[in-house]
């Protein structure tokens, strides 16, 4: 597809859906539109957080029950334009042998992400060129895109209906990755109807079989309106492996700028 045309189309959809979501979700007529609207309402409930910093513990378990941990610090910069992805900087803290290693990502919607890694052992920055997005993040059951902020435009949607999830009424929306090299064929997300946050996601693999389930729990609201889950549990149904993400308290509006998420900023990490 012609990229110009592409962007134009996305802009049109964005404009149209923005207008729609202001009026009412129920105004949507097709399941695809309604699905998009539910996802958009969830995504936009987060609008304006500008930047955040959070400490994160990752606990990985295999089928034999053996487990291991790593801790990392994630800084995120909001990029308001929905045709562009957010920027993030991940600094690994432990285990000791990767301490200080930093990953800078400029998320793209339909193209490979731009990623740079600073290796303290080598004292160099390496640019990673890869079309792969849904591979496991540092050996965990999460792909990078599974736990970073939802990018609305990465998917097309279909509204499935509403269902109770542990006492919370949720909208179920199926979403289909638009990225050519995604490892998933579809995801089913459960978005609650009160604060519009994702509570659960089922991931389906290339042959359409259920692969993983993500449960998002311990939601807290920051600055009256920014909801963040503090416990994310991902279970791989096929291998029996699982990963928990345990978040500390978020800090918002630290005044971070694009400068803090640039290649030159990577060098300043150490």
């Amino acid at each position: 597809m012609n990229p110009q045309k592409h962007i134009k189309k996305i802009m049109t959809i964005t404009a149209a859906s923005l207008l729609f979501s202001f009026i009412s979700i129920t105004g949507a007529n097709t399941p695809a539109e309604k699905g998009f609207d539910v996802a958009a309402r969830s995504d936009r409930s987060d609008r304006g957080f500008s930047d955040s910093v959070v400490q994160l513990k990752m606990v990985m378990r295999n089928k034999a029950g053996k487990q291991t941990q790593r801790s990392l610090l994630i800084s995120t910069l909001e990029v308001p334009d929905e045709t562009l992805g957010d920027r993030s900087l991940i600094v690994f803290d432990s285990p000791a042998d990767i301490s200080g290693t930093a990953l800078l990502s400029h998320v793209k919607i339909l193209d490979p992400d731009d990623q740079w890694l600073y290796l303290p052992g080598l004292k160099r920055i390496k640019r990673i060129s890869s079309v792969n997005k849904s591979g496991p993040f540092v050996g965990s059951e999460f792909a990078f895109e599974d736990f970073t902020a939802l990018e609305l435009k990465k998917y097309t949607y279909k509204y499935l209906g509403e269902k109770d999830l542990n006492g919370i009424m949720c909208d179920m929306v199926e979403r289909y990755p638009r990225y050519e090299y995604s490892g998933y064929t579809k995801q089913v997300s459960w978005i609650d109807q009160q604060v519009f946050q994702v509570r659960k996601v089922d991931f389906y693999d290339r042959k359409g079989d259920l692969l993983k389930t993500l449960i998002l729990d311990d939601y807290k609201s920051y600055n009256s309106g920014f909801w963040r889950s503090h416990t994310m549990k991902m279970v791989n149904h096929q291998t029996g492996k699982s990963t928990d993400l345990l978040y500390g308290d978020y800090l918002f509006k630290k005044g971070l700028s694009k400068n803090d998420f640039s290649k030159s900023a990577l060098k300043r990490i150490r």
């Binding site: 990985m60 378990r61 295999n62 089928k63 034999a64 053996k66 487990q67 291991t68 690994f92 285990p95 042998d97 990767i98 290693t101 990953l103 990623q115 890694l117 290796l119 303290p120 052992g121 080598l122 160099r124 920055i125 390496k126 640019r127 990673i128 060129s129 890869s130 079309v131 792969n132 849904s134 591979g135 496991p136 993040f137 540092v138 050996g139 792909a143 990078f144 090299y181 995604s182 490892g183 998933y184 693999d205 290339r206 042959k207 079989d209 096929q238 291998t239 029996g240 492996k241």
Partner: protein
Amino acid sequence: MIKQIDALALFITDKILRFRWWVVAATLAMVVLAAAGGRFIEFSNNYRVFFGKDNPELIAFEDFQANYTKNDNILIVVKPKDGKIFTQDTATAVEDITKQAWNIPYAIRVDSVSNFQYSWANGDDLTVEDLLRNSAGLSQETLDKKEQIALAEPLLKGNLISDNASTTGINVTLQYPEKSITEVPEAVGMARMIVTDIKSRYPDLKIALTGVAMMNNTFAESAIKDLSTLIPVMYLMLILVMIFALRSISGTVVTLFIVGFSSLTAMGIAGYAGIDLTPISATAPTIILTLAIADSIHILVILRKLLLQGMDKITAIKESIRINAIPVTVTSLTTIIGFLGLNFSDTPPFHDLGNITAIGIAAAWFYSMTFLPAAVSILPFKVNQDNIGKKSRIHYVISRYADFVALNYKPIGVVMGTLAIFASFMVTKIELNDEWVKYFDHRIEFRNDAEFAMEHLTGIYQIEYSIPGGGEGSINNIEYLTHLDKFTDWLKNQKEVRHVFSYSDIIKRLNKNMHGDDPAWYRMPDSRNLAAQYLLLYELSLPFGLDLNDRISVDKSASRVTVSLPEISTKKVRQFIDRSKTWLAVNAPAYMANEPTGSTVMFSHISERNIKSMIKGNAVALALIAIVLIVSLGSFRLGMLSLIPNTLPILITFGIWAMLVGTVGMAAATVTSTSLGIVVDDTVHFLAKYLRARKEMGMDPPGAIKYAFETVGQAIIATTLILGIGFAILATSTFLINSQMGLLTAMTIIVAFIFDFTLLPVILLMGTTRKGGVYEPAKAY
């Protein structure tokens, strides 16, 4: 006691004959009810069923797989006519297969030369990408370059690409939910559909399917094939032998009903019990057919003899049942004990075989004692009036033979004794071998495909090492990596080894990539931190499904080394494993030592495990059979003596096998118990008649021997013929374990027959001469 049993048999038979129509109807109802269980029968398709829950190798492998991933796989082997993989056409086909293979049910990973994650550097840019993408648009020059890359890559060469790049493999890793028995056939079915599709679009490709999933599926296919080919042949054989032995259509028909009923009953009950058939337990109906016939034959041969003596039919039926009640019961009991002895085996399918067959034999005994007299009394059963009072030619020959044995028992004893000693000495020369590809013969597609894969691509016997590094994150230690690399090199230099998959080859490549692809840096990184950071970088760039989780444990405390071996005997596998363990112990830090595992390792121990477990089973079976013999013969001396002509044949059979064949698989351990239960039958029949002659007719030993020969000689010949042929038919099974079991049992039966006709009378006579008795042939008449 014999008298009471005789009286009981007479009483019951009397009642059966009076209510014969009711008995026939009740039998039919019983069979229908039992056989209805057959609808629950399913065919197992997992090689793990060959290993008991407590099998140490299985436990080790399950533990290994819980730490990495289960590695049941389908290997799609592709060889184009022009012998070149890296052409636009074939490379496109490989990409196509790779893409389609992701749709195979339960596939969690697909590896091929096309989706191999090739990493390369351009200054500080690291690119990780599929080795082949959109090959249809690549020039031959580019493809040639890719071929060079593939052949230079230790993870690919000798594994997914042959050394001359003429054959390639697409490996599909499967992870079953293990909830349904149809999982394996589902995956295999899809793989076959893909192959059919690819072949239709790329007619110049030869494609073979192999791997653990294909083997598993083949177990069921082999069992079904055996059932559908062996059983009809078996029935045909039974009919021929019976017409010859019984010379009666009615007798043959009744016997056919009885063997059919027995086999239906046993399989039906197996169905109710929820037993999944394996190629081994699927032989049960064939074995039951063979064994169930003996009871009927003994009863019918004597019946015919009595009719020839001019007795009326009803009296003759009662008399035949009376004479046979004890021997038929005892022989059924010993055979049942022999088969139940299989429950000691370390391989559960043998338990199923033993139990199903035992049920079948019990059913045959029951139907022979009830249905048979009822049915025979209803059907016409006549002998040629001219023959009444005359003795048959066979009878004459047997009677002359009895004289011969009585006169020459000493030299016969010496010859048989010498043979036995020589053959038993040879037994020690037998080599145990369980190459699972060779479990299937060439009528089975899997055998040909697996051999094709081994000839053109790689070794499919894999040995897995989980090499620990001593603690969390320890695989990044330079000491660990250096020794892992040395171990990998050592493995690659072993003549048996076709391929080694080791993490050390990945980290060396990454170190090179991190230094602008300078070949001088193709070595271990300088520090643990660097190694850990390279690994992190690499992990960040891998795509869905191609991660390192199956090569490195989650806490990075161990990594996995996979060694592929070509066609190799299990003895050599064990020697190789021992060498590798010694190398590790001598050359690597102590924390790196570990037992290798995997299906190949499991099968390399299966025969020993079975022999060890069956020693106990055989001892118990032997003891129980001895007790049955002692009680039923009413003589401790005779009971113990009768074990000699029955255990020696087994020893001799293995001796002959050692000389003619040399190797044997896991069938070896189980043949002893079952064949003992079978061959002891002839002795029981012989001794029962011998004792009857001694006690009821007051004959001396030589006379009683002659009487025994004359009464049961013909029946023994007939049953030996049937059993010998029956197990010989089993020897044509597509499954090696069955054919070895069949051939060994057939041989044992024939050797035992010879012993019963030679050593048994010799033993009986030896006892008499010690007391100074002299035999005169004339006395016996």
